[in-house]
């Protein structure tokens, strides 16, 4: 990283809802400070001003679903010193990875009148299936404060302080009454990656796994508990097959 120039930041979008890159613009108190610390060199949603690469830090949102994007991500990797993926689409394929479990021709025909015009891959895959990724930030959507931590860490050349434990630990830390123990509510908290701050339990709702699997989750122990709380087999399948359906630890529950 040059000492005379500000480090360059690039933001890239693949198949996604734009929500994770919107998190950058949602950093209302820190946005202008961030814009002062880095040169925003590529960020289509925010500016029509672009600077040619290479870039010191690339943030990548979205999953790979077309041949064109499979080629484009190679180019993004080539011009990026550090590449960080943000959100469930980029880290696990996103909700659109449900196509991986179906016949994509049926999917296309269900949405479009003339499916022959649609060019799409049969799968939605995370960025890490295509190129080397330096760090993955999970969440659907990501937590903007964690994003700021990741950007700050990479700019200073240190490891981001992002816990890879479960949502359960966040509930305990916040002193939230366990919705499973107290109310018998089905909850993916024990197997889900921390980061949201135990949002759903704080609103009397069971976690539905939007941050994807934690490191080494014990899904085998959770499934019988979910069944005893009234979820049938299809219900268990659906709860693991939503926003992080293609993450290996969640996919294994459905396709052992």
């Amino acid at each position: 990283m040059s000492t005379t120039h500000k480090p360059t930041l690039a933001v890239w979008k693949f198949a996604s809802c734009d929500g994770c890159q919107l998190s950058i613009l949602d950093l209302e108190d820190e946005l202008l400070t961030l814009a002062g610390a880095v040169e925003i060199a590529e960020f289509h949603e925010a500016t029509s001003h672009n600077v040619a690469g290479p870039y010191d830090l690339s943030l990548v949102e979205g999953s790979i679903t077309t041949e064109h994007d499979a080629q484009r991500i190679q180019e993004v990797r080539r011009v990026s010193k550090t590449l960080v993926t943000i959100g469930a689409c980029a880290t696990a394929g996103g909700v659109q990875a449900l196509r991986n479990f179906a016949d994509v021709a049926d999917f296309t025909a269900a949405v479009y009148a003339s499916p022959e015009y649609i060019s799409t891959l049969a799968t939605s895959t995370p960025i890490s299936a295509h190129v080397k990724v330096d760090f993955e930030l999970h969440g659907c959507p990501i937590n903007k404060h964690q994003l700021l931590e990741v950007v700050s860490a990479f700019l200073r050349g240190r490891k981001p302080a992002i816990a890879s434990t479960s949502v359960c630990t966040e509930c305990k830390r916040r002193g939230i009454v366990c919705v499973t123990v107290a109310h018998g509510t089905p909850c993916l908290g024990p197997v889900t990656h921390a980061g949201c701050g135990a949002l759903c339990p704080a609103y009397n709702r069971g976690c539905f796994g939007c941050y994807g699997p934690m490191e080494a989750p014990n899904t085998g122990a959770l499934v019988p508990l979910l069944r005893s709380q009234g979820l049938d087999e299809a219900g268990v399948r659906r709860v693991f097959q939503t926003f992080n359906a293609a993450a290996p630890a969640f996919r294994e529950v459905v396709e052992p």
């Binding site: 289509h44 994007d69 449900l98 009148a113 060019s119 939007c210």
Partner: protein
């Protein structure tokens, strides 16, 4: 001028999602304009099949990170319509309050970060902030107030987690809402300044002709409920939508275009809402609209930035009124039992009318889903407007025409991420 010209931008900046446009000119006449979408398809209508009716709000929220509450609300309206459920007054108040938060953050984003730089000659808000930090900070303050409201009522600002078919998972106490009052009062002041600021921009003389379509409700400026109405006499319930609207495939275009059957192109969004319902704005918002020189209707897409600013004032005003009138309910949600049939729901996303239709079986499993976002509905109007704007400004250089075309498209605040799963895609190897 008799030569052939093509005005184009291959990757539109400062819009949500990935799109491009081209305008063909031959012998001094605009032949056609095309707004192209190259964002990859995500197949929401297909992946909703086989999911429970209770999952539609969470899943459809992921269509758009900028207006998730719109998707959640239209889907809940559709499911409650299908199941024959009336939600409580407190639920309605909270839903409208949450929706005001989304209007505030989305309008503030569009006005300050995406649209105003066009009028002021900047490439984006970060560049604008170098010369006028206090202006950008005002926009960020507004956005923050909207986001705080969404975070408190919805749990988080992007893809809120607290909403459900029938109501909420947890209804906040009246006391919990109190900390929102001061930021919203400050945001209202910032919104008033926003109207005065945008009213001072330079606007070309320009109006569109097409029919204007928005929800209308006798009791309030329609946001989360209402009938689908137009300035030319359309007045239908959401369940009649498919009888009156059609999607047509034009050979020259890769997109499906929404049209009113036997009536043609229409426009939804802030201009339509204001023109149909402006008498229901709060007195303060009406007064500012008058001060800004808006009449009883507004058909000028360039002035949509003023209309959005007036709606910002209204959304702050309305959120404060709702917080004041809110009474915590005994139960956060009513029980909803599924039944077989079709349900229809609509609401006013920041960008305009958002229609959902679901067919569900007796166990509550979704058999079929149809989602029509505002950007798809406005695509024809945007392309017609591009033709008109270019025809009127042929004397400009290609570079200036290109900039004017981009501004013309941003006037509509298009959300390409929303439109994608609906529009016909042509993703070539380019």
């Amino acid at each position: 001028m008799s030569e052939r010209r093509t005005i184009r931008t291959d990757y539109l900046a400062r819009v949500e999602g990935e799109g491009s446009f081209s305008v063909q000119i031959d012998g001094g006449r605009v032949e056609q304009a095309e707004l192209r979408i190259f964002e990859p398809p995500r197949f929401f209508e297909a992946l909703l099949r086989g999911r429970s009716f209770t999952e539609a709000p969470d899943i459809t929220a992921r269509i758009c990170g900028i207006c998730p509450v719109a998707y959640q609300t239209s889907s809940m309206n559709a499911m409650e319509n299908l199941c024959g459920v009336e939600v409580s007054e407190a639920t309605r108040t909270l839903r409208r309050l949450l929706y005001c938060g989304e209007w505030i953050e989305s309008h503030a984003l569009h006005i300050y970060m995406l649209h105003a730089p066009d009028f002021l000659g900047y490439s984006g808000a970060v560049e604008l902030a170098r010369d006028a930090p206090q202006i950008v900070e005002r926009g960020l303050q507004l956005k923050k107030a909207g986001n705080e409201l969404m975070r408190l009522v919805g749990g988080r600002e992007i893809h809120p987690i607290n909403v459900r078919v029938g109501g909420f998972y947890r209804a906040p106490s009246k006391q919990e809402l109190a900390p929102l009052v001061q930021p919203l009062e400050r945001a209202r002041e910032a919104a008033i300044e926003t109207v005065r600021w945008t009213a001072g921009f330079d606007f070309p003389q320009h109006e569109v002709e097409c029919e204007l379509v928005a929800l209308s409700h006798p009791d309030d400026y329609a946001i989360e409920r209402g009938r689908i109405c137009s300035d030319r006499g359309l007045d239908i319930s959401a369940s009649e939508y498919t009888e009156h609207f059609e999607e047509e495939h034009l050979e020259r275009s890769t997109a499906l275009h929404s049209r009113l059957r036997e009536r043609g192109t229409y426009l939804c969004g802030p201009l339509a809402r204001y023109s149909l319902n402006h008498a229901q704005l709060s007195p303060l918002a009406r007064e500012l609209a008058r001060e800004a020189g808006l009449g009883e209707t507004c058909r000028d897409p360039f002035r949509s930035i003023i209309v959005r600013s007036v709606e910002l004032v209204y959304a702050c005003d309305e959120a404060l009124r709702l917080i004041d009138s809110y009474e915590e309910p005994d139960v956060p949600a009513v029980e909803v039992r599924p039944r077989a049939g079709s349900g229809h729901g609509a609401s006013e996303a920041p960008r305009g009318l958002l229609y959902h239709r679901y067919r569900v079986d007796a166990d509550g499993m979704i058999l079929e889903a149809q989602i029509v976002p505002p950007t798809s509905q406005n695509q024809q109007a945007i392309e017609d407007d591009l033709c008109g704007v270019v025809q009127q400004n042929l004397e400009l250089s290609d570079e200036r025409l290109q900039g004017l075309c981009e501004q013309t498209i941003r006037n509509y605040d298009p959300c390409i991420s929303c439109a994608t799963h609906f529009l016909r895609l042509e993703v070539t190897g380019r």
